[in-house]
C-alpha cells in the first residue's frame, strides 16, 4: 500500500513568493497562484505573471480534486529517509493546473492514467504539511 512519508524526510524551504502556499498547506488548504488580470496560473510561484506581465497575483483555494496525469513508482529511495514503494505523481487539478505530489491509499498496480484523485495533507515536520492525493470513487 502506498502511504505518506514519515516525519524526517527532507522538507521544503519556502521562498517569499511561495509562503502563502505553505501556510495554506499547514491549514489543510491547497492554494495556487493565479493572475487576476489574465487568469494564467503560475507554473511556480513568482512576482509577475509570465503571460501578461501583470502583478495582480492572488492565491485562490483549489477544491483539491483532479486526476492522475503521470506517475512513477519508486523502489530505490532517493535517500534512506524515504520508505518504498512511493509514487511521485503529476496531478491535473480541475482548476486547470498541474502539480507535483504523490499518490497514497492504493496499491501501485492500481495507478492508471486519469485516475480521479482528491488532495489530503500530512505533516512532514513541525511547520510543513505536504499535499498528497488519494484515489476517489
Amino acid at each position: 500500500m502506498l502511504e505518506p512519508q514519515p516525519v524526517g524526510i527532507p522538507v521544503p524551504n519556502p521562498s517569499p513568493a511561495s509562503k502563502p502556499y505553505w501556510e495554506g498547506a499547514a491549514r489543510g488548504e491547497l492554494l495556487y497562484q493565479r493572475c487576476d488580470d489574465c487568469g494564467t496560473i503560475a507554473l511556480r510561484p513568482g512576482t509577475v505573471c509570465g503571460s501578461c506581465l501583470g502583478r495582480n497575483l492572488s492565491w485562490p483555494r483549489s477544491a483539491g480534486l483532479g486526476s492522475l496525469y503521470s506517475w512513477t513508482v519508486v523502489w530505490r529511495p532517493q535517500q534512506p529517509a524515504f520508505r518504498v514503494p512511493y509514487a511521485p505523481a503529476i496531478v491535473a487539478l480541475d482548476e486547470g493546473f498541474r502539480m507535483m505530489s504523490a499518490v497514497v491509499g492504493c496499491e501501485p498496480e492500481e495507478l492508471r492514467a486519469d485516475l480521479p484523485l482528491a488532495v489530503e495533507f500530512h505533516p512532514a515536520s513541525d511547520d510543513i504539511s505536504l499535499p498528497y492525493f488519494r484515489p476517489r470513487t
Binding site: 511561495s18 511556480r44 506517475w71 512513477t72 523502489w75 529511495p77 503529476i90 510543513i128 505536504l130
Partner: protein, 386 residues
C-alpha cells in the same frame, strides 16, 4: 550568408580512462589529464591556447601557464562547444580548449548520486531524483502513444551491447544483454529498471577547437560543426515535469530539443535522412525514443516502433550511441559525459572507432540533456567543410 562555423574545426578530442571510481583523482586533476590528452591529439602546443572553457577553466589557465587567456568557467557540454566555436569564428580566440571531469563526487552509496537529488521546495518532499523525474515524462509518453517497457528495454540492451564490445567502456564485457535481461533487472522508478538507467562513474573529457587555417597544419582530419542549438523549458527538477508544458511556441516540453534540432538542420542545410550516426545522450532508455521523434527521425509516437524495427543497432538505419553511452561507456559527473557525445561523433567521422565504426559516416548528430531535466542541446558534425 556564409556558414557561421565555416572557419572552425574540431582538431583534438580525448577521453581519459573512465571507471566507476578513479583512485587518486579529483575532478580538477582528471580535467587536467583530459585537457592534456586533447591538446596532444590535436598536436597543438599549450602556449597556443588562448581560451579555456569548463568548470575548471581558471585552474587550467593557471596550471598550464596560459595567462593572459579567455576563461569561461561554464559546464554544459554542447553549449560550451558552440561557445568555443563562436570564439574562433569571431576571431576572439585561435585555439579553444574545452575540458571537463568528474571524480570523488559520489561516496555515500546509501543515497542516489548527489547531483541527482533536487532540493527545490516543490519536489523535495516527494523523494524525487533524476530517474523518477524522467520516468514521469516516459510514463506520459506511454499513456499517449502506447510505448511499452519492452521498447524501452530494446533501447537499453542495444546501447549496453555497444558498451559490452567497447574495451574503453566502464562496463566492457558485462553483456551481451537481451531486452528480457533489462526487464529482469530490479525496478528503480517505474517504468525504469536498473538497466534502463545511466550508471555513475568518473573520468575526464576534452576537445580542442581551432581555425580552419591553423588546422591545415595539424595531423587529424578536420571535423566540422554543421549546426547546433539549445532548448530549455526552465530550471531542472523544480516543478512537475509535465509533457505538455509550453512557452512561446506549441512545441511541448516533452519534445524539448525539437526546436534546437530544426535550427541545427537549417544551419547545416540538411535533413534527418542525411544523418549517418546518432550519438544521442542516453540518461534513460526512454530518452532515445523521445529524441528520435523530437528530431524528426520518425513521426511523433512512433519512436517505439522505430526501435522495434532494428534501426538503432549496429548496421541499422541509424546506429545510436555507439560507444555504450552513459549506460555502459561512462557517466562521469556533470559535464564530461555530455562532451563524450561530441567526442564520439568526432571519432565516428574520423573513422577511428575501434568498435561499432559506422563505415563511411559523413554526418553525425550529437545531443545532451533530456526531457526530465527540461533541456536538450543538439549538434550536427560533418566531414565536409560547411
Amino acid at each position: 550568408m556564409s556558414h557561421p562555423y565555416r572557419d572552425v574545426v574540431i582538431a583534438g578530442v580525448h577521453n581519459t580512462v573512465q571507471a566507476r571510481q578513479l583512485e587518486g583523482h579529483d575532478s580538477e586533476s582528471i580535467t587536467f589529464e583530459a585537457a592534456l590528452g586533447a591538446l596532444a591529439d590535436a598536436g597543438v602546443p599549450t602556449p597556443e591556447v588562448d581560451a579555456v572553457i569548463g568548470a575548471h577553466a581558471q585552474e587550467l589557465v593557471l596550471g598550464l601557464r596560459l595567462g593572459p587567456c579567455t576563461r569561461l568557467p561554464w559546464q554544459l557540454g554542447i553549449p560550451i562547444v558552440l561557445e568555443g566555436a563562436d570564439l574562433v569564428a569571431s576571431g576572439r580566440a585561435d585555439v579553444v580548449l574545452i575540458a571537463a571531469g568528474g571524480a570523488s563526487m559520489y561516496t555515500d552509496r546509501t543515497a542516489t548520486a548527489p547531483w541527482t537529488r533536487p532540493a527545490n521546495e516543490f519536489v523535495v518532499g516527494y523523494g524525487l531524483f533524476t530517474a523518477a523525474e524522467f520516468a514521469l515524462m516516459a510514463r506520459r509518453h506511454m499513456v499517449m502513444y502506447g510505448t511499452t517497457p519492452e521498447q524501452l528495454a530494446t533501447v537499453a540492451s542495444t546501447i549496453r551491447n555497444n558498451g559490452h564490445v567497447n574495451p574503453d567502456a566502464v562496463y566492457f564485457g558485462r553483456g551481451p544483454f537481451t531486452p528480457a535481461d533489462i526487464l529482469a533487472s530490479r525496478l528503480v522508478a517505474e517504468p525504469f529498471h536498473l538497466l534502463d538507467c545511466a550508471m555513475t562513474s568518473e573520468g575526464g573529457s576534452a576537445l580542442v577547437l581551432t581555425s580552419a587555417e591553423r588546422a591545415a597544419d595539424l595531423p587529424n582530419p578536420p571535423v566540422w560543426i554543421l549546426g547546433g542549438a539549445s532548448d530549455s523549458y526552465g530550471p531542472a527538477y523544480q516543478i512537475a515535469p509535465a509533457w505538455d508544458i509550453v512557452g512561446r511556441s506549441d512545441v511541448p516540453a516533452g519534445y524539448v530539443g525539437r526546436t534546437a534540432a530544426r535550427h541545427a538542420f537549417a544551419t547545416a542545410g540538411l535533413a534527418p535522412d542525411d544523418v549517418d550516426v546518432a550519438e544521442l545522450y542516453d540518461p534513460f532508455s526512454f530518452e532515445i525514443i523521445r529524441q528520435l521523434e523530437a528530431y524528426g527521425f520518425c513521426p511523433d509516437g512512433e519512436g517505439g516502433a522505430f526501435v522495434d524495427d532494428g534501426n538503432i543497432g549496429p548496421g541499422g538505419r541509424l546506429p545510436v550511441t555507439t560507444d555504450g553511452g552513459t549506460m555502459s561507456y561512462s557517466h562521469a559527473g556533470i559535464n564530461a559525459q555530455q562532451l563524450q557525445r561530441v567526442i564520439r561523433g568526432v571519432e565516428q567521422l574520423r573513422g577511428t572507432c575501434a568498435t561499432n565504426q559506422v563505415h563511411g559516416a559523413e554526418v553525425a548528430i550529437c545531443s545532451n540533456g533530456g526531457s526530465g531535466a527540461l533541456f536538450t542541446d543538439v549538434m550536427l558534425l560533418g566531414k565536409e567543410r560547411p
